[in-house]
């Protein structure tokens, strides 16, 4: 008898491969040309547009939408890429509902914003499908910059530096470049190997060398980089996962949500991945939502996300929460985990409401998603994160202080650090 959502334990093939493939492909289809022009026509071309202010990379949104409306999506893409070289990925993963689309005057007025994210995807897809890179590298300056971490911050920094003519070497500890775009984004949001294609397209600027499998602290030190390069940019992300610190945490069946997400991203046949019948996800952020939703898409019978605080405190947006519940995820608010139950493997999790009342949630698989932390050799800190600049070492993205931990914020910080490095290297500022 084949496996089904009801099969006990952690097993593969709960749903047929074709069904799982469909589940992972169905999210937010791309616009066709006519749809895009109709959607673009809804934009009012606001003066000093709130959407543009809300965008961490300050993309000129009214302009690119008008360029779509007038039948020039490639020009629209150039407008986007000029501010955000990862505009393609951001179009897929940005929580637009809490950024540009939240402040769109049509959202405020009608509860129905201009679909900026989907329009951005339409424009960027259009240009990227042609395989052309819209920027030309300046003449080689002879300056060399090391970038650690080939995630959104590092790549955005590397691209902008290369654009200005500097030679960039990007190191990453993983086998593939892309960082969280490659390993951390939910598989259904970035289909068709988009992250890898985006990296390949971005590198067409020239002047960037990528060295994968190189870990800071193991294969090189900050001091060695400092000595060998004119400047260093750290975009190393958050490599550690917070532990629950509870009894039973080491039982079989308890795992980090980020690892589950990364494995999913790298799997060709997702149905071959094992998932529990009764899955519990502990946490309330995007990572928790991505793990919960994807467990459901793989065919788990019940998926319960438990968050210790109220709905309004949850860092996953209301849109994401609704998407999760629409996929069949149950969200429990205001309950903290007390202990993980089970003899040799996990059988359930005991939770306590703020009132003290407890309940046990049946589980054969538990994903921890209560946040990530900075790890690695001691580097100048600003609170729990890295300072954005110390001497000739810059930092940006999730590892650095300031801004939300979002792809788009990482891109902005990488880009801005590159501009600052460029100013320093060219002697414009110190």
């Amino acid at each position: 008898m084949p496996n089904s959502p009801q099969t006990p334990g952690i097993v593969a093939q709960r749903l047929p491969s074709e069904r799982v493939a469909q589940n992972f492909a169905a999210y937010q289809p791309a616009y066709a040309a006519h749809e895009a022009r109709v959607a673009a026509d809804r934009c009012y071309f606001c003066h000093d547009a709130p959407c543009m202010t809300a965008c961490p990379t300050a993309i000129d949104i009214p302009l690119f939408i008008r360029q779509i409306a007038t039948g020039t999506p490639d020009a629209a893409a150039k407008t986007i890429f000029a501010q955000n070289i990862m505009g393609g990925m951001c179009a897929r993963v940005c929580p637009t509902e809490t950024l540009c689309e939240e402040v769109c005057v049509r959202e405020v007025a009608e509860g129905k914003p201009v679909e900026i994210g989907r329009l951005q995807r339409y424009a960027t897809d259009s240009l990227m499908a042609k395989g052309v890179h819209p920027f030309t590298r300046a003449a080689n300056t002879g300056k060399r910059v090391a970038v650690v971490g080939a995630g959104p911050a590092g790549l955005a920094c590397a691209h902008r530096l290369a654009l200005h003519g500097h030679a960039v070497t990007v190191y990453d500890r993983r086998p593939k470049a892309g960082g969280l775009n490659e390993y951390g984004i939910a598989a259904y949001k970035s289909t068709d190997d988009f992250a890898a294609r985006e990296v390949e397209w971005l590198l067409k600027i020239g002047g960037i060398t990528i060295e994968t499998g190189k870990d800071l602290g193991r294969d090189m030190t900050l001091a060695s980089l400092d000595a060998a390069f004119d400047a260093v940019f750290l975009g190393i992300g958050l490599g550690g996962v917070n532990a629950l610190g509870l009894v039973g945490e080491d039982l079989a069946g308890v795992a980090n949500a980020v690892d589950f997400i990364a494995t999913l991203r790298q799997a060709d046949d997702k149905a071959a991945l094992e998932v529990g019948r009764d899955v519990v996800v502990i946490g309330g952020g995007m990572t928790a939502v991505d793990a919960a939703v994807q467990a459901k898409l793989l065919g788990a019978q019940t998926v319960t996300m438990v968050y210790r605080r109220g709905k309004e405190k949850m860092s996953a947006s209301v849109y994401e929460q609704e998407h999760a519940t629409a996929c069949g995820v149950t969200i429990v608010y205001g309950a903290a985990p007390v202990k993980i139950l089970g003899a040799s493997k996990v059988e359930g999790v005991e939770f306590a409401y703020e009132s003290g009342e407890t309940f046990t949630q049946r589980a054969d698989q538990v994903f921890k998603a209560i946040g990530q932390t900075l790890v690695g050799e001691p580097i100048a800190r600003d609170g729990k994160k890295l300072s954005s600049r110390v001497g000739k070492v810059w930092a940006g993205g999730d590892c650095a202080a300031g801004g939300e931990d979002l792809t788009v914020t990482a891109v902005a910080q990488g880009r801005d650090a590159a501009e600052e490095i460029h100013s320093v290297l060219t002697g414009a500022v110190r």
């Binding site: 606001c46 003066h47 005057v105 405020v108």
Partner: protein, 432 residues
């Protein structure tokens, strides 16, 4: 439900919505479908002289402009008059009229500019039992190159001459269809009136090129790499048509000349506007060609509801707005309004600000929190902010009452006074 029965120059129809002489009225099949759908009447597609029929192009004959969602806003055509044999048209007209006695059946005519040609065609159509004729002095493409259509309509003397011939050789009511491709629409209307026309209909289509193909560098619609100007119609031409109808309706020389209003009528509201400016009925083409004959149901229900709401008969509406069309020089220069932005309705898009700041009078202030307010001391009441605001009625023009002070000029709002009375007008002679 208001009675929409219409009597236009003695031609009766159950409603004032006729299909204009055009492709939809070229044969019995279409016209019968139109009558089944509820159209009050048709003007049959223009007939030419006996003999070999005209020939149409076999490539695209229509061009268009569209809104973002492919809403058709304007259409042009290079189609000629009917290309079917005269006798087939005459037989079909007669058969359809016999079957649909309560509907108006008018025949559009276009023959060479000599008395014999007109006498001949009028004689041939006499037997059809049609209700009237419409003289096509309007089509601006193709036939005009052969001295017909708008080539006649652009010369008032010809209009008068041909109209006279028609009245001399026919007892049928005669409508003269005017071309808008002329400087002053009053002149051809006066000529038709002088020639004895029972009514004028307008507008025919406007000379136009709808678009240029930027790959082949030729106008659309394109025939084998070339294009020619075609007749423009549809919603885009309505404002031009409304003005021309009003000009004729308020001209003392043609004040009582009945008008059949044509030009972009798409909804009951468009029709009501033509009627209010003095049209006795309306003719429709592009809307039917875009959506099919069924649209007349909306026109009928909409106009009925409007008349019921207003407690008016159809005849009360005709010309109701005509007295309020005047010359600029008679507008009250002491009528002062100011734009007022309703902050509850404002969605803070800032379009009013951009428009006023960049292109008008810098009369709108923008605060750090995107609150937009009108500076009365700068506002000239141009209405641009109202027109660019995406929210209807969010910005309104509020009158400064008589005796109030216009913050822009510092002057009290006075009694009615127009340009003919203004001290800056060099033509004003001192009243001494």
């Amino acid at each position: 439900m208001a009675n929409l029965a219409s009597n236009f120059i003695g031609i009766k129809s159950p409603n004032p919505f006729w299909l204009a002489s055009a492709p939809p009225t070229d044969k019995a099949y279409n016209v019968e479908r139109a009558f089944e759908a509820g159209w009050g009447g048709v003007v049959w597609k223009t007939l030419g002289s006996e003999g070999p029929p005209v020939v149409n192009v076999s490539g695209p004959r229509y061009g268009a402009i569209w809104g973002a969602d492919r809403r058709l806003l304007g259409l042009n055509n290079i189609e000629l008059i009917t290309d079917r044999p005269l006798q087939i048209n005459l037989d079909e007209i007669k058969a359809v009229k016999r079957k649909w006695r309560d509907r108006a059946m008018v025949i559009s005519l276009m023959v060479p500019c000599d008395e014999e040609s007109w006498k001949d065609i009028l004689h041939r159509i006499e037997d059809t039992e049609a209700d009237g004729v419409e003289l096509n002095f309007g089509c601006p493409h193709g036939m005009a190159e052969r001295g017909m259509g708008s080539a006649v309509g652009q010369v008032p003397e010809y209009i008068e001459m041909v109209t006279r011939w028609v009245k001399k050789h026919s007892r049928m009511p005669c409508i003269v269809k005017l071309t808008p491709n002329i400087n002053d629409i009053r002149k051809p209307a006066e000529a038709a009136h002088a020639g004895g026309a029972d009514a004028v209909s307008l507008i025919n289509t406007i000379n136009s090129i709808t678009s240029v193909n930027l790959d082949s560098f030729a106008p659309e619609p394109m025939i084998d790499g070339k294009g020619t100007h075609g007749g423009y119609c549809g919603p885009a031409v309505k404002p031009i048509a409304l003005n021309m109808v009003a000009e004729i309706a308020r001209n003392p020389a043609t004040r009582n000349l009945p008008i059949s209003g044509i030009g972009g009528v798409t909804t009951w509201r468009d029709a009501a506007e033509f009627l209010a400016l003095g049209a006795g009925n309306v003719q429709v083409c592009t809307a039917a060609m875009t959506y099919g004959f069924k649209i007349v149901s909306e026109m009928i229900s909409g106009l009925s509801e409007y008349l019921d709401d207003k407690g008016m008969d159809l005849s009360d509406l005709v010309g109701r707005a005509t007295p309020n069309v005047t010359d600029w020089q008679f507008l009250n220069l002491n009528y002062v309004t100011k734009a007022v932005i309703n902050q509850d309705d404002c969605i803070k898009c800032g379009r009013c600000f951009a428009a006023c700041e960049d292109t008008s009078h810098q009369a709108i202030a923008m605060s750090a929190d995107r609150t937009f307010t009108v500076k009365d001391e700068e506002c000239v009441a141009c209405n641009l902010c109202v027109n660019v605001c995406p929210v209807q009625d969010c910005i309104t023009m509020v009158e400064v009452p008589k005796g109030g002070v216009d913050q822009r000029t510092g002057r009290k709002v006075g009694e009615y006074a127009n340009w003919t009375m203004h001290p800056n007008n060099p033509s004003v002679t001192a009243a001494e």
